[in-house]
Symmetry: D3
Subunit: 187 residues, 6 copies
């Protein structure tokens, strides 16, 4: 309990259906405190000719891409300073908020902003968490930063958390928090 | 599309069923990029005598409490320095991680840790986000801090994000990030 | 075969649900040439809190009135020359088409038009047939006319058919055919 | 709302299933005054081995032919005076009723009856309406007649309505009304 | 797996529904070798107005009585030599077959037949097994006989098995096997 | 009524699904006293990717073999004195109980036990009845014995009943009753 039946049009891949089934399982667990093994999800798939709304057949929309995978790819491109790839993942109205920084909307601004702060920084991930809120996908990445200060000394283990919003498969907002300033202040 | 049918035992309140239905709606939207209005959720409720597993009837487990509500109540109790109430919401093995602070497990430690940092701090919330991962409920609270430094000057607008994990309706982990140090460093 | 399951919100009367079930039975029979006894219809009724579309609960719309009953009441009112009652059943844009007559839109026009044709006319019904086409209800009434010519002689057994269109429970169109002229020509 | 699920045996074509789905949609709309877009029909198709009644598997009956299409083909054959084709579409006990004419059962009678009335007549269709009543399919054709009187003058725009009953895919009754006599009387 | 959904008309008691659910569970286990805990049965109950077959509502038939309970009551009545009660449980055409005895149809015949064989006999039950075959209920009772021979010596531990057939809730056939003769032969 | 829907994973043969459907039909008839023709069973089969329990896909267990067929094959092997084949059908802890005989667990014991009793014996079957009780399959075979006594005289028509229990497709218990001793005593 509960037992969840989902009726969908044919056209989703096994991976997409597994993603859907896992999301429904977690949704059920958010209210019903059962062991996960007690949550059953069944997908009933229909060919186009077996589903009619308003007297007309419908086509399935292509699945929303996996938001967590999109964010990982974006962050990998940013670490590699592959701005073209990173930009291709951004949607209209993209904004970034970094600690005590003005809101930025171009990746070049971010690079300029970071230049006086560190030589480079990379991320070690502890967790990537994704969930959906209406038409917005939200992804959190959590972990620690490591890299090099401008003076060439190394740093690592600095906690960070990034929050992303995606619409229609594209990143439209990034919010970043980390302990860099706290660590520097304690140094 | 999709159309989601959920079979549950009688015993959940309308609020709990609405929470379940909204969670299932968002789960569907995480894969199917439909307008939310195209997502239908039906709950089929069964009295105890209409559900049998393994030849025996089953009782519904009481609903998992709303994790977001629990976190809000905990944060309100902490702001009011009502430690007894706050403690009653913590589960076994509770740990807290604050910016560049050692892991803490007692609320008194946190109060001691904060004493040399500010006179008081309060939170203005922008967002509370909750979702489920297996048996763990995750809640994010996002907003800005305002309060008073030790020298009596006021501050506000400092971004923060808190992440909570709950098990069995109790908070077992709190991770906190904010821009306090960054703001101080820029001051 | 087939077996038809219908999910509806609570709020329809037993009569309305029987009307729905019979309409679904006939719909199935239009394609599947089974004995009617082989057609099964099940209604699954949901309280408001068990149905959610787009993350919000919905209210059931009051049932469309029985179109055949509306037409019968309208025709009874017309026979009784109770024009106020008859008019209350008409919708915006109502038009009437009588044999070789100009289109009329007011009941008074019809009465004026019929004055030189007969003293009075009444209907004996053989059949009333109603079905739905999208948002339009169509009703046919079939039978024979009886009454009195202007010269006082009686007539009867004159075949007629009326076709009505209803929108939102109101009559918006009436088309009338009958054998009056043919009968007169043969007299 | 409502959501209609139909369980049928495999063996119906996409066209037949679309016909069934549209008929079910209209059936739902006859009682529930929703926008057609709010009516969902799902077909669940089963192979023969997945359906058992009374302990035995069943075979699907071939679909009832589209009654409207049969009537159109019959009327086309009649206009072309292709009596053999037209007769092949008639069922046992076929009867025809024309304005103020005796009931006829043979197409030749009709042709003899019409000979002194007009040189030829053809139909311009406004509407063909079909619906099912138990095991009887009912089809209405509505439009105007055009053709030539015996004296060689042309006519057109004469309103007509034909009503057909079909059983087991064959026409068993035809009732005809039109304004011919009225038009002649006014001429 | 499997998950079994049963649609029934309202009107069965909780006990009858539990009996139905357990029978369906065992039916599933006869083919699917799952742990019983993996078999889920859901009952969907409909008021009379929510079920239509062939365009008419139907009434639920009263449940078939528990065949095992009927047989137990019959055997208790026979042991108590309460022939009237026992006879009230027999159906038309009742026959009994005892070891190497002619077929009997009246309980008095059985009593006459047993008179020269033992003073009295009673049953200790190990098992009562009931299952359904189409419209026939089959019940087996298995255990050991104890009692007294005609010479007054006691006996016990003699294996027996009785097989009963019931139609419409009444016993129509009883077949009896036991080791009495074998035991006597060995004595 | 009732209408039974069964959701199973793909992987069962048509024969196994027919066996399941018939078992469910009989289960329904054990409580609902309908004509068998009124019992409908539908199987909804899902590919592995359409069923998830506890967040993971599952594989269907191979069907339990037909217990009645296994018992028939075992009895045929025993009649043919093909002990190796017969033994291959026995499960751990197999026991046999014959009339007034000590419990035996090896087929050789049975052969030794029968040697002084008859030259040979064969079975004519009237009925084979199988049903399931939790994880145990129960099979009854009923009929008459024929064969030859040790003195060469033939016998036949001696009633017998065998009861078998199977676990995991193997016979773990056989109980035998018959009228042999009674017949001999009467001889």
């Amino acid at each position: 309990m509960p037992i969840i039946e989902t009726h969908v049009l044919e056209g989703y891949s096994d991976d997409e259906k597994a993603r859907l089934s896992r999301a429904l399982t977690d949704a059920a667990l958010s209210v019903v405190p059962a062991k996960p093994d007690a949550i059953t999800v069944m997908i009933h798939e229909m060919p186009r000719s077996h589903y009619m709304r308003g007297g007309t057949h419908r086509d399935p929309a292509p699945a929303r891409p996996d938001a967590a995978a999109t964010v990982r790819a974006y962050l990998a491109a940013m670490e590699a300073r592959d701005l073209d790839t990173a930009k291709s993942m951004l949607g209209d109205g993209f904004v970034m908020n970094f600690p005590a920084a003005p809101g930025m909307s171009a990746l070049e601004e971010l690079i300029a902003w970071s230049k006086p702060r560190y030589a480079f920084v990379k991320k070690a991930y502890d967790k990537v968490e994704a969930f959906q809120q209406g038409e917005t996908s939200v992804v959190y990445t959590i972990g620690t930063l490591f890299g090099e200060w401008l003076d060439g000394t190394a740093f690592d283990g600095i906690r960070f958390i990034d929050r992303f919003e995606l619409r229609d498969g594209r990143i439209v907002r990034q919010d970043v928090w980390n302990d860099m300033a706290e660590v520097k202040a304690q140094a």
